[in-house]
């Protein structure tokens, strides 16, 4: 097994070694149900799709994913295990990716546990299951983006609370770039290309395309390059700050 796999396995196992994993999954499921049925008006909309379910994910993740990501590196630095990890023959890439993928797979597990809603909507009507599938993919990619940002923030500090707050703020900026209020503010004075550029950085815009069943290469590229960029930054930050 490559060292990426070894790191991945240890990290994923460590989520389930503490109550963290179970608390996260329960809160995620309860909140997503609440948002879908109550705020989203899943029943009253009378439509056989999961738009009500997916539309709140970017806000749901805004608090839940940083809570998951904050421990990635901050905990290692706080407890000193980072010295152990970094003096083992493991490459920087294996470390950063192993930890990230473990967290990402963990969110994926939580996301898969929302399957009853897919069964419900199929029982009530005839939804476009292809669109539901791309919605799930989109949601998972979105979570990956948040996690990569959280990973970098966690690498920058020993303090998990600070890591959490920084991640929420940065993630919020990425969401806010797409909400009409912000774009309207820019469009009053900025040239159109700048407004488009800002909108194209938004999680919201990319994710809503995917959650409506539009699977486009450029949206996939957006999420993957976003993750790659923040993970690369994570590796740099770790090197700079590891001994502090």
């Amino acid at each position: 097994m490559s060292n990426l796999g070894v790191i991945f396995k240890r990290e994923l196992g460590s989520y389930f070694a503490t109550p963290l994993a179970y608390i996260f999954i329960v809160i995620f499921l309860v909140l997503s149900a609440l948002f879908t049925f109550d705020l989203g008006g899943f029943y009253t909309a009378g439509q056989a799709d999961l738009n009500a379910f997916f539309s709140f994910h970017s806000w749901l993740y805004l608090f839940l994913v940083p809570a998951l990501a904050m421990r990635l590196w901050a905990e290692e630095r706080k407890s000193g295990t980072i010295e152990l990890l970094m003096t083992l023959p493991v490459s920087r890439t294996d470390m950063v990716l192993g930890k990230f993928i473990a967290a990402w797979v963990f969110v994926g597990i939580a996301l898969l546990l929302t399957f009853p809603i897919v069964i419900t909507v199929n029982y009530l009507g005839n939804p476009d299951n292809g669109a539901i599938f791309t919605g799930y993919i989109g949601s998972w990619l979105l979570a990956g983006g948040y996690l990569a940002i959280g990973s970098c923030m966690s690498a920058a500090t020993k303090n998990q609370v600070i890591a959490f707050i920084l991640s929420v703020v940065v993630c919020f900026i990425f969401i806010a770039a797409g909400i009409p209020m912000v774009l309207d503010f820019f469009s009053t004075w900025a040239p159109q290309w700048l407004v488009d550029a800002i909108a194209s950085f938004s999680f919201q815009v990319r994710f809503s395309a995917l959650s409506h069943g539009v699977l486009e290469l450029r949206d996939l590229l957006y999420f993957f390059s976003l993750m790659a960029g923040w993970l690369f930054a994570t590796a740099i930050v770790i090197d700079l700050k590891k001994a502090d």
Partner: protein, 309 residues
């Protein structure tokens, strides 16, 4: 083989390791000594690849620690200061994780873990979470992960710090066992000097990041003003004048109202026979008469307190 050439590390304005150079040959157990903040840990962190040097170079088994760090790390076992381990893991799971990182799998992995567990006597706590273990056991877990792959080079940062006397003895015994009859290198940082006399074949003293002394523990002890000194325990106080006039005697120090005398020798002189003879001639009632090899802590203080001033 470890070779360190003009290694330098700065933290802001502070120079933690200053142009440090020395080699360690296979078979040596090196005691790395110095007061707190002398740069011992920093040097070890650079050797193991945790810190990047600001100047100079170092290599372990021929692998440069800056350009070939992964290969160098494969040759090394390292116990960081305070023995950090993943607290939420169980001892067995943790050691299996380390074994996997070290490239072992299947039966070989289990064999390696079992052997390390046996060497440091962890059998009784295998299923426990590391965070629930006592300090002594945690340290042993740290040692087990360092020796698991039978490394060519073992680097231990204060392996006995904070342990009780029995545990210290155990760890020292283990280090001796590991080094015995092999061509391995063991580097131990410590500020406990008896440890150096007990386990090391060579001692390097550093202060403020610079090399202050390098030699066998005996050579360093010979630098002590107590080297070849004679200590007498007497049941009554005596006139020390006669002692001071013996050839080769540098000075006489007295303790407990003259009931215990330490006769210091001039460098290179052996005064034990003369002191013994004098005691017999004067018919002193001597309860104890012994020669000192030299006091390492005395040498250590002499070398490092000058630095601190």
């Amino acid at each position: 083989m470890i070779s360190i050439n003009s290694l330098t590390k700065r933290f802001g304005e502070h120079v933690a390791v200053d142009n440090l150079s020395f080699d360690v040959k296979p078979g040596e157990v090196l005691g790395f000594l110095g007061p707190n903040g002398a740069g011992k840990s920093t040097t070890m962190k650079m050797l193991t690849g945790f810190l990047t040097p600001d100047g100079g170079s170092a290599s372990v088994c021929g692998f440069d620690v800056q350009t070939q760090i992964l290969q160098a790390q494969q040759q090394m076992g390292y116990l960081p200061e305070g023995a950090p381990c993943y607290g939420d893991m169980r001892v067995k799971g943790f050691l299996e994780f380390i074994a996997s990182v070290r490239g072992f799998s299947g039966a070989e992995k289990h064999k390696r873990v079992a052997r390390a567990v046996e060497q440091v006597e962890l059998q009784s706590v295998l299923g426990q979470r590391i965070e629930t273990l006592s300090k002594g056991f945690k340290r042993r877990v740290g040692l087990a992960q360092a020796i698991l792959h039978d490394p060519q080079v073992l680097i231990l940062d204060e392996p006995t710090d904070g342990l009780d006397p029995n545990q210290k003895h155990h760890v020292r015994h283990l280090i001796q066992q590991l080094a015995e009859g092999s061509n391995k290198i063991v580097v131990i940082s410590t500020h406990i000097l008896e440890e150096v006399s007990a386990v090391c074949s060579r001692a390097v003293i550093i202060g403020r990041g610079r090399l202050l002394a390098d030699g066998t523990p005996e050579e360093l002890e010979a630098r002590s003003r107590y080297h070849q000194a004679v200590t007498l325990s007497l049941s009554h106080s005596v006139d020390t004048q006669a002692l001071q006039q013996l050839p080769g005697v540098l000075a006489v120090e007295s303790l407990h109202d003259g009931q215990q005398l330490t006769v210091l020798a001039k460098p290179g002189e052996v005064i034990f026979p003369a002191v013994g003879q004098l005691a017999r001639e004067q018919q002193w009632q001597v309860a104890e008469l012994s020669v000192e090899r030299g006091r390492l802590d005395d040498v250590f203080r002499g070398l490092t307190s000058g630095e601190a001033a």
